[in-house]
């Protein structure tokens, strides 16, 4: 069983994580649409630190030999999903970025041509 000190440490850690997430959203460093998954994660951490028996029960039910294995397993799984999601977002952004750059290039050419035909200086 987990000691009371470790338990307290986990609770405080979860609360700090949640506060950091909320502060990032408040400062608009994190868009709401990407923040949801983090709020859920933080809340889950907090819940598991307060009610450690939930982790024990899940771990028992799935047949992990020790609960920390279950924690690591789900932690890594979660991180893989997050990174995959980020790759999707990056791909989408790079396509949009390419289209944007191409439009700017073509617009600059049109503006230059128009300026030339109007005879305006530079």
């Amino acid at each position: 069983m987990m000691g009371i000190r470790l338990n307290l440490f986990a609770i405080i850690g979860s609360i700090i994580l949640l506060l950091v997430i909320l502060e990032l959203i408040r400062r608009r460093y994190l868009q709401e649409r990407y923040s949801l998954v983090w709020i859920i994660t933080g809340t889950l951490f907090l819940l598991l630190s307060i009610r450690v028996d939930i982790l024990y029960r899940i771990s028992n039910f799935l047949g992990f030999s020790i609960p920390s294995n279950a924690l690591f397993f789900f932690g890594v799984l979660f991180l893989i999903l997050i990174v995959l999601g980020l790759s999707v977002i990056t791909s989408r952004l790079s396509v949009k970025n390419k289209i944007l750059a191409q439009e700017v290039v073509l617009l600059k050419k049109r503006v230059a041509d128009l300026e030339k035909s109007l005879g305006s200086p530079e």
């Binding site: 390419k98 750059a101 191409q102 700017v104 290039v105 073509l106 600059k108 050419k109």
Partner: protein
């Protein structure tokens, strides 16, 4: 027929040694064509040379890759009412004297896309052995997915009509686009063919393809084509 608007697109990245010669060659072989240099963020005097020569110039704000560079040219061609667009590399390996025969099948409506192949004629530069093997591999791949024999599927010496332009403005891979472009042309029902050309060894600059990127090229294109074949069509 003679009033067709033709645009020769030269994608360039640091090609100061060869660009002027390429432009002069195109002017003497296909004088009725407009020439567009798309500068993909060169760090040398390539852009300056293009402007000095008085050709059309588009400047990418940063290096975006050969596919994006060609697509910028295609977009310019489509929006400015060109009937035919031709790709000629800026490193001098494509001979401009083949330009009239490259666009002939487009003028007659026989094809939508014409590729200049260095393997239909004897002579000229045929590339190195590992590269030839890579090209054989891509030929095989194209044959599997289209049933058509293409001897030089990675050749960047190609010309297309408006149908080809419309397709490639819509979708064109950012890197190593040549082989995939053939497959997507085939899937859209466009007709493509090869004509014999001779090519030179590059006159300046370094090849854009090393061993690792050659491997990436093959894996990426194979993956993209295989997945593309089961992708839902828009």
């Amino acid at each position: 027929m003679e009033s067709m608007k033709i645009l020769v697109i030269i994608p360039v990245f640091n090609e100061e040694e060869t660009l002027r010669g390429v432009i002069l060659g195109i002017r003497s072989s296909l004088s009725q064509a407009d020439i567009l240099v798309v500068n993909d963020g060169s760090t040398d005097s390539t852009g300056k040379i293009a402007r000095e020569e008085g050709v059309l110039v588009l400047e990418h704000p940063y290096n975006m890759g050969i596919g994006a560079t060609m697509q910028t040219g295609f977009l310019y061609a489509l929006r400015n009412g060109y009937d035919i667009a031709i790709q000629v590399d800026g490193d001098g390996q494509h001979h401009p004297e083949f330009l009239p025969s490259l666009i002939k099948p487009l003028r007659t409506g026989q094809s939508n896309l014409v590729i200049g192949s260095r393997y239909l004629l004897d002579g000229g530069f045929k590339s190195t052995l590992p590269r030839k093997l890579g090209i054989k591999f891509f030929s095989f791949l194209v044959w599997i997915f289209t049933g058509k024999r293409v001897t030089d599927p990675t050749s960047g010496f190609r010309a297309m009509d408006r149908k080809g332009l419309e397709l490639f403005c819509e979708e064109y891979p950012s890197d190593y686009p040549e082989v995939e472009a053939l497959i997507s042309a085939y899937n859209k029902g466009l007709h493509f063919q090869e004509i014999p050309v001779t090519m030179m060894n590059r006159q300046g600059g370094a090849s854009s393809i090393g061993i690792l990127s050659a491997l990436y090229y093959m894996v990426k294109v194979t993956l993209s084509i295989s997945i593309g074949s089961v992708r839902r069509v828009k």
